[in-house]
Protein backbone atom coordinates (compact mmCIF):
# COMPACT_ATOMS: atom_id res chain seq x y z
CA UNK A 1 0.00 0.00 0.00
CA UNK A 2 1.34 3.42 -0.73
CA UNK A 3 0.61 6.89 0.44
CA UNK A 4 -2.03 8.64 -1.56
CA UNK A 5 -0.21 11.89 -1.73
CA UNK A 6 -1.89 15.02 -3.02
CA UNK A 7 0.86 17.56 -2.90
CA UNK A 8 0.03 20.79 -4.59
CA UNK A 9 3.71 21.11 -5.42
CA UNK A 10 6.73 18.89 -4.96
CA UNK A 11 7.80 19.00 -1.33
CA UNK A 12 10.22 21.84 -0.83
CA UNK A 13 8.58 24.17 -3.33
CA UNK A 14 5.88 26.34 -1.80
CA UNK A 15 5.47 28.79 -4.64
CA UNK A 16 3.93 28.14 -8.00
CA UNK A 17 0.26 27.44 -8.39
CA UNK A 18 -2.26 25.10 -6.93
CA UNK A 19 -3.25 23.43 -10.17
CA UNK A 20 -2.72 19.99 -8.72
CA UNK A 21 -5.20 20.64 -5.94
CA UNK A 22 -8.92 20.11 -6.21
CA UNK A 23 -11.21 23.07 -5.82
CA UNK A 24 -12.84 21.47 -2.79
CA UNK A 25 -9.51 21.25 -0.98
CA UNK A 26 -8.68 24.83 -1.92
CA UNK A 27 -12.04 26.13 -0.80
CA UNK A 28 -11.66 24.22 2.43
CA UNK A 29 -8.50 26.15 3.17
CA UNK A 30 -9.13 29.63 1.90
CA UNK A 31 -12.76 29.89 3.00
CA UNK A 32 -12.89 27.80 6.17
CA UNK A 33 -9.48 28.79 7.44
CA UNK A 34 -7.28 31.87 7.20
CA UNK A 35 -7.42 34.80 9.57
CA UNK A 36 -10.83 36.38 9.94
CA UNK A 37 -10.75 40.12 10.46
CA UNK A 38 -13.72 42.21 11.42
CA UNK A 39 -14.01 45.91 10.85
CA UNK A 40 -14.45 47.84 7.66
CA UNK A 41 -14.03 44.94 5.34
CA UNK A 42 -17.37 45.50 3.69
CA UNK A 43 -17.29 48.28 1.22
CA UNK A 44 -19.99 50.86 1.44
CA UNK A 45 -20.77 53.83 -0.64
CA UNK A 46 -23.35 56.26 0.63
CA UNK A 47 -24.30 53.70 3.26
CA UNK A 48 -25.07 51.02 0.71
CA UNK A 49 -23.11 47.79 0.78
CA UNK A 50 -21.46 47.37 -2.57
CA UNK A 51 -19.99 43.97 -2.16
CA UNK A 52 -20.46 41.29 0.39
CA UNK A 53 -19.67 37.74 -0.46
CA UNK A 54 -22.30 35.63 1.17
CA UNK A 55 -19.96 33.01 2.41
CA UNK A 56 -22.65 31.04 4.17
CA UNK A 57 -23.87 29.77 0.82
CA UNK A 58 -20.32 28.99 -0.11
CA UNK A 59 -19.63 27.15 3.12
CA UNK A 60 -22.70 25.00 2.72
CA UNK A 61 -21.61 24.13 -0.80
CA UNK A 62 -18.20 23.06 0.44
CA UNK A 63 -19.64 20.98 3.25
CA UNK A 64 -21.88 19.12 0.82
CA UNK A 65 -19.12 18.55 -1.71
CA UNK A 66 -16.75 17.35 0.99
CA UNK A 67 -19.28 15.05 2.62
CA UNK A 68 -20.14 13.37 -0.65
CA UNK A 69 -16.49 12.78 -1.38
CA UNK A 70 -15.47 11.51 2.04
CA UNK A 71 -18.64 9.80 3.21
CA UNK A 72 -18.42 7.19 0.51
CA UNK A 73 -16.20 4.13 0.51
CA UNK A 74 -13.34 3.90 -1.94
Amino acid sequence: MSVLRETSNAPGILGGDSSGTSLVDLLDRVVHRGAFVSGDVTICLAGIELVRLDLRLLLVGIAEATASREGGVT
Binding site: D40, L55, E70, V73
Partner: protein, 247 residues
Protein backbone atom coordinates in the same frame (compact mmCIF):
# COMPACT_ATOMS: atom_id res chain seq x y z
CA UNK B 1 -25.18 46.38 -9.63
CA UNK B 2 -21.89 47.88 -8.57
CA UNK B 3 -21.06 51.32 -9.84
CA UNK B 4 -18.60 51.16 -12.70
CA UNK B 5 -15.07 52.01 -11.72
CA UNK B 6 -15.47 51.44 -7.99
CA UNK B 7 -12.50 49.53 -6.69
CA UNK B 8 -11.38 48.11 -3.41
CA UNK B 9 -8.26 46.54 -2.02
CA UNK B 10 -8.47 42.77 -1.86
CA UNK B 11 -6.36 41.71 1.12
CA UNK B 12 -4.55 38.38 0.91
CA UNK B 13 -2.37 38.23 3.99
CA UNK B 14 -0.83 40.05 6.91
CA UNK B 15 2.97 40.02 6.94
CA UNK B 16 5.94 41.79 8.44
CA UNK B 17 6.85 45.11 6.90
CA UNK B 18 10.07 43.76 5.40
CA UNK B 19 8.30 41.25 3.17
CA UNK B 20 9.48 41.40 -0.43
CA UNK B 21 6.89 40.09 -2.82
CA UNK B 22 8.09 38.79 -6.19
CA UNK B 23 6.77 40.34 -9.40
CA UNK B 24 4.01 38.66 -11.27
CA UNK B 25 1.36 38.19 -8.63
CA UNK B 26 -0.42 41.43 -9.35
CA UNK B 27 -0.41 42.16 -5.64
CA UNK B 28 1.77 44.54 -3.66
CA UNK B 29 2.94 45.00 -0.10
CA UNK B 30 1.30 47.88 1.75
CA UNK B 31 3.68 48.63 4.62
CA UNK B 32 2.56 50.24 7.85
CA UNK B 33 4.74 50.29 10.93
CA UNK B 34 6.09 46.85 11.75
CA UNK B 35 3.44 45.11 9.67
CA UNK B 36 2.22 44.95 6.10
CA UNK B 37 -0.86 43.92 4.19
CA UNK B 38 -0.54 42.09 0.90
CA UNK B 39 -3.17 43.70 -1.31
CA UNK B 40 -4.39 44.11 -4.83
CA UNK B 41 -6.70 46.75 -6.21
CA UNK B 42 -9.74 45.10 -7.72
CA UNK B 43 -12.85 46.43 -9.39
CA UNK B 44 -15.65 45.45 -7.04
CA UNK B 45 -17.70 44.22 -9.96
CA UNK B 46 -15.13 41.44 -10.42
CA UNK B 47 -16.12 40.05 -7.05
CA UNK B 48 -19.76 39.59 -7.94
CA UNK B 49 -19.45 35.93 -8.78
CA UNK B 50 -21.99 33.18 -8.56
CA UNK B 51 -21.07 31.60 -5.24
CA UNK B 52 -23.08 28.50 -5.97
CA UNK B 53 -21.02 27.70 -9.03
CA UNK B 54 -18.35 25.42 -7.63
CA UNK B 55 -17.14 24.28 -11.04
CA UNK B 56 -13.43 24.04 -11.64
CA UNK B 57 -13.44 26.65 -14.39
CA UNK B 58 -15.92 29.13 -12.92
CA UNK B 59 -15.21 32.68 -11.81
CA UNK B 60 -15.22 31.66 -8.16
CA UNK B 61 -12.62 28.97 -8.81
CA UNK B 62 -10.43 31.53 -10.53
CA UNK B 63 -10.64 33.91 -7.56
CA UNK B 64 -9.93 31.14 -5.10
CA UNK B 65 -6.88 29.91 -7.01
CA UNK B 66 -5.60 33.44 -7.27
CA UNK B 67 -6.05 33.92 -3.54
CA UNK B 68 -3.99 30.82 -2.84
CA UNK B 69 -1.38 31.74 -5.47
CA UNK B 70 -0.75 35.15 -3.90
CA UNK B 71 -0.67 33.69 -0.39
CA UNK B 72 1.87 31.11 -1.60
CA UNK B 73 4.06 33.67 -3.30
CA UNK B 74 4.10 35.77 -0.15
CA UNK B 75 4.70 32.79 2.14
CA UNK B 76 7.75 31.86 0.11
CA UNK B 77 9.44 35.08 1.15
CA UNK B 78 8.54 35.40 4.80
CA UNK B 79 6.06 34.50 7.53
CA UNK B 80 2.50 35.44 6.58
CA UNK B 81 -0.96 35.15 8.04
CA UNK B 82 -3.22 34.28 5.11
CA UNK B 83 -6.53 36.07 5.39
CA UNK B 84 -9.85 34.44 4.80
CA UNK B 85 -11.07 34.52 1.23
CA UNK B 86 -13.09 37.59 0.41
CA UNK B 87 -11.44 40.12 2.69
CA UNK B 88 -11.71 43.45 0.94
CA UNK B 89 -11.06 46.90 2.38
CA UNK B 90 -12.19 50.13 0.72
CA UNK B 91 -8.83 51.89 0.59
CA UNK B 92 -5.34 52.24 2.03
CA UNK B 93 -6.54 54.10 5.09
CA UNK B 94 -8.80 51.17 5.95
CA UNK B 95 -5.91 48.80 5.34
CA UNK B 96 -3.80 50.71 7.83
CA UNK B 97 -6.64 50.69 10.37
CA UNK B 98 -6.90 46.93 9.92
CA UNK B 99 -3.23 46.56 10.82
CA UNK B 100 -3.31 49.14 13.63
CA UNK B 101 -5.86 47.20 15.58
CA UNK B 102 -3.89 43.96 15.43
CA UNK B 103 -0.22 44.77 15.85
CA UNK B 104 0.50 42.63 18.87
CA UNK B 105 -1.72 39.70 17.96
CA UNK B 106 -0.35 39.56 14.43
CA UNK B 107 3.26 39.90 15.57
CA UNK B 108 2.80 37.01 18.00
CA UNK B 109 1.26 34.78 15.34
CA UNK B 110 3.95 35.62 12.81
CA UNK B 111 6.67 34.82 15.34
CA UNK B 112 4.97 31.55 16.23
CA UNK B 113 4.74 30.47 12.59
CA UNK B 114 8.21 31.54 11.50
CA UNK B 115 9.42 29.62 8.47
CA UNK B 116 7.10 26.68 9.05
CA UNK B 117 4.64 25.42 6.42
CA UNK B 118 1.31 23.74 6.78
CA UNK B 119 0.62 20.14 5.86
CA UNK B 120 -2.78 18.50 5.92
CA UNK B 121 -3.34 14.92 7.00
CA UNK B 122 -6.61 13.12 6.47
CA UNK B 123 -7.35 9.55 7.38
CA UNK B 124 -10.30 7.88 5.72
CA UNK B 125 -11.83 4.45 5.94
CA UNK B 126 -11.38 2.16 2.98
CA UNK B 127 -13.15 -0.91 4.30
CA UNK B 128 -16.88 -1.27 4.25
CA UNK B 129 -17.07 -1.38 8.04
CA UNK B 130 -20.07 0.85 8.31
CA UNK B 131 -23.20 -1.16 8.98
CA UNK B 132 -25.98 -0.31 6.58
CA UNK B 133 -28.79 1.70 8.10
CA UNK B 134 -31.30 -0.95 8.92
CA UNK B 135 -35.03 -0.78 9.13
CA UNK B 136 -35.99 -0.72 12.78
CA UNK B 137 -36.76 -4.25 13.82
CA UNK B 138 -40.13 -3.92 15.43
CA UNK B 139 -40.84 -7.61 15.57
CA UNK B 140 -40.43 -7.35 19.28
CA UNK B 141 -39.37 -4.85 21.86
CA UNK B 142 -36.32 -6.94 22.64
CA UNK B 143 -35.28 -7.12 18.99
CA UNK B 144 -35.64 -3.37 18.61
CA UNK B 145 -33.61 -2.63 21.71
CA UNK B 146 -30.92 -5.10 20.66
CA UNK B 147 -30.67 -3.34 17.34
CA UNK B 148 -30.43 0.05 19.00
CA UNK B 149 -27.71 -1.19 21.34
CA UNK B 150 -25.75 -2.54 18.39
CA UNK B 151 -26.01 0.78 16.58
CA UNK B 152 -24.86 2.72 19.61
CA UNK B 153 -22.01 0.30 20.13
CA UNK B 154 -20.94 0.71 16.51
CA UNK B 155 -21.00 4.47 16.90
CA UNK B 156 -18.90 4.23 20.06
CA UNK B 157 -16.47 1.89 18.33
CA UNK B 158 -16.16 4.30 15.43
CA UNK B 159 -15.56 7.20 17.76
CA UNK B 160 -12.94 5.26 19.70
CA UNK B 161 -11.30 4.17 16.50
CA UNK B 162 -11.13 7.73 15.25
CA UNK B 163 -9.59 8.84 18.53
CA UNK B 164 -7.06 6.01 18.34
CA UNK B 165 -6.09 6.99 14.81
CA UNK B 166 -5.68 10.61 15.87
CA UNK B 167 -3.46 9.66 18.78
CA UNK B 168 -1.41 7.32 16.62
CA UNK B 169 -0.72 9.97 14.01
CA UNK B 170 -0.02 12.68 16.58
CA UNK B 171 2.41 10.48 18.48
CA UNK B 172 4.26 9.51 15.30
CA UNK B 173 4.81 13.05 14.02
CA UNK B 174 5.09 14.88 17.33
CA UNK B 175 8.86 15.28 17.06
CA UNK B 176 8.60 17.06 13.72
CA UNK B 177 5.69 19.45 14.16
CA UNK B 178 5.55 22.79 15.92
CA UNK B 179 1.78 23.04 16.05
CA UNK B 180 -1.36 21.13 15.12
CA UNK B 181 -5.01 21.95 14.58
CA UNK B 182 -7.42 19.06 14.53
CA UNK B 183 -10.91 19.33 13.18
CA UNK B 184 -13.95 17.48 14.36
CA UNK B 185 -14.78 14.51 12.19
CA UNK B 186 -16.87 15.17 9.13
CA UNK B 187 -18.48 12.44 7.07
CA UNK B 188 -18.63 8.86 8.26
CA UNK B 189 -15.55 7.92 6.34
CA UNK B 190 -13.34 10.68 7.70
CA UNK B 191 -11.51 9.50 10.79
CA UNK B 192 -9.03 12.33 11.10
CA UNK B 193 -8.59 15.78 9.62
CA UNK B 194 -5.61 17.61 11.05
CA UNK B 195 -3.33 20.45 9.95
CA UNK B 196 0.30 20.36 11.07
CA UNK B 197 2.82 23.17 11.13
CA UNK B 198 6.24 21.86 10.17
CA UNK B 199 9.52 23.77 10.16
CA UNK B 200 11.39 23.39 6.88
CA UNK B 201 14.29 21.61 8.55
CA UNK B 202 11.91 18.91 9.75
CA UNK B 203 9.95 18.47 6.59
CA UNK B 204 11.82 15.50 5.17
CA UNK B 205 11.56 13.60 8.46
CA UNK B 206 7.89 14.50 8.76
CA UNK B 207 7.06 13.23 5.29
CA UNK B 208 9.05 10.02 5.85
CA UNK B 209 7.12 9.41 9.05
CA UNK B 210 3.84 9.99 7.24
CA UNK B 211 4.86 7.48 4.57
CA UNK B 212 5.53 4.88 7.27
CA UNK B 213 2.22 5.62 8.95
CA UNK B 214 0.36 5.34 5.66
CA UNK B 215 1.69 1.82 5.14
CA UNK B 216 0.80 0.76 8.68
CA UNK B 217 -2.67 2.26 8.52
CA UNK B 218 -3.39 0.72 5.13
CA UNK B 219 -3.10 -2.69 6.74
CA UNK B 220 -5.78 -1.62 9.20
CA UNK B 221 -8.19 -0.68 6.45
CA UNK B 222 -7.65 3.06 6.40
CA UNK B 223 -6.14 5.40 3.86
CA UNK B 224 -3.96 8.37 4.71
CA UNK B 225 -3.93 11.46 2.52
CA UNK B 226 -1.22 14.08 2.78
CA UNK B 227 -1.58 17.51 1.20
CA UNK B 228 0.88 20.35 1.22
CA UNK B 229 2.89 22.34 1.61
CA UNK B 230 0.34 25.09 2.17
CA UNK B 231 0.65 28.63 3.44
CA UNK B 232 -0.34 28.51 7.14
CA UNK B 233 -4.09 28.97 6.69
CA UNK B 234 -5.00 26.93 9.73
CA UNK B 235 -2.62 28.78 12.02
CA UNK B 236 -3.41 32.35 11.05
CA UNK B 237 -6.35 32.99 13.38
CA UNK B 238 -5.83 36.16 15.37
CA UNK B 239 -6.63 36.12 19.04
CA UNK B 240 -9.10 38.70 20.19
CA UNK B 241 -11.04 38.70 16.94
CA UNK B 242 -14.80 38.39 17.41
CA UNK B 243 -15.82 35.09 15.86
CA UNK B 244 -18.31 35.83 13.14
CA UNK B 245 -17.70 32.83 10.98
CA UNK B 246 -20.79 31.28 9.57
CA UNK B 247 -21.42 27.78 10.91
Amino acid sequence: MTAVGVTGLYAYAIARADLELPDGTGARVLRHGPLALVVKEVPLADLEVDEQDLSEDGALARLVREHDAVARAAAEHGPVLPLRFGTVVPDEAAARRLLDGRREAAARRLDAIGSAREWGVKVLRTDDGQPAAAEPDRSSGAAYLAQRRAALQAAEDASRRAQHVAETVDAAVERWVSDAVRRRGGGQGLLLDVAYLVLKDHETSFVEEIDRLATDLAEAGVRLELSGPWPPYSFAALEGEPDERAP
